[in-house]
Amino acid sequence: MSVINYANRVIDFKIVYYGPGMAGKTANLQYIHRCLPNANRGNMISLATGDDRTIYFDFLPVSALTVRGFQTRFQLYTVPGQVQYNATRRLVLRGADGLVFVADSQFERLRENVESLRNLEMNLREYDSTLDEIPYVLQYNKRDLPNLAPVTYLEFVLNRRATRVPSFEASALEGKGVFDTLNTVSRMALASEFGKRERRDEAS
């Protein structure tokens, strides 16, 4: 969960990119790392297998706006998408302030998308949390490939909770949609610290 530090006037957030294997979670972070100047980002760490599949997580810290005298910083993580790595996926999810579900838009990957989303909900329950409580966006990635499911269909299948969440078409390798996704989820995570939730905290 977020850390607000008055001593150095910083608020830290954790954002986790979730989704099935090979959906493009690491590609999102690589593009962000490539595009941001050194002053706005730290080193990117990738714990991957020899064939570049994520085995634990990727990690990229980025700094953002100063809001009411606090520098805001976001620690971006990916989870390993492969089914067998659920234990590590659950560990990375711990303390997430915002989530990006990266879906693979190809028709033949629909089942994996649905299973990964269910797996996300199941892992959140381990932390007594749900998708309704955490700022969350969807990214329909790989829109540059053939055999795409229409966005309306992906919305029907993946964005069907009572409150629909923001969703973005993306091609992470080319960078399309990557910053729209990041800007939105970070803004949602930031907004959750201000206003409404504050009054609730004080009432309790």
């Binding site: 969960m1 850390v3 954790k14 009411r68 907004a191 201000f194 409404k196 004080e202």
Partner: protein
């Protein structure tokens, strides 16, 4: 198991700093980092300014979490200490409380036994400060009003 938000006020930071400084002096440790189990750096002291402390925090929290998961597979609630021995520098990670760990980086000027001895003491002291901080309601002044339009503007501009 839900993690709690952490708000560290100036007075909390000063007390934590005092505990960490004492720990450095007594144990002979070169650097110390206080890290929450989600991977966020809460405080650091010693020569730690020169380290990539943010990356070390993320990696240490992950290593500690995966060790805890292994402990559970053996029927242990947790392995409370993690130790990595290097040729010049070593790392000792120990539990502060359910949400926090303490990471000490030390070299040949001290011993594992000294670090372990004083890490326990420092953990109890710093855990008490964090417990008080987490029990307090979030300060209202800066956080009461929702974000304005300008505060909600995109933080990063994609390359054109």
């Amino acid at each position: 198991m839900k993690l709690r938000n952490t708000v560290i006020r100036e007075q909390d930071a000063a007390r934590i700093h005092e505990v960490l400084r004492r720990f450095l002096g007594e144990s002979g440790t070169a650097e110390v980092l206080l890290i929450d189990r989600a991977g966020q750096l809460l405080a650091m002291d010693g020569a730690a300014q020169a380290l990539d402390a943010v990356s070390i925090s993320a990696l240490a929290a992950a290593a500690f979490s995966s060790t805890a998961a292994m402990a559970q597979l053996l029927g242990e609630p947790e392995f409370s200490v993690l130790f990595h021995e290097g040729t010049k520098r070593s790392i000792h990670v120990s539990t502060v409380d359910g949400d926090t760990i303490l990471l000490a980086i030390f070299d040949e000027r001290t011993t594992l036994g000294m670090v372990r001895l004083f890490a326990g003491e420092a953990s109890r002291a710093v855990g008490a400060v964090l417990g008080e901080a987490r029990g307090r309601p979030k300060p209202a002044a800066e956080f009461a009003a929702p974000l304005s339009e300008s505060e909600s503007r995109p933080a990063w501009t994609p390359p054109s």
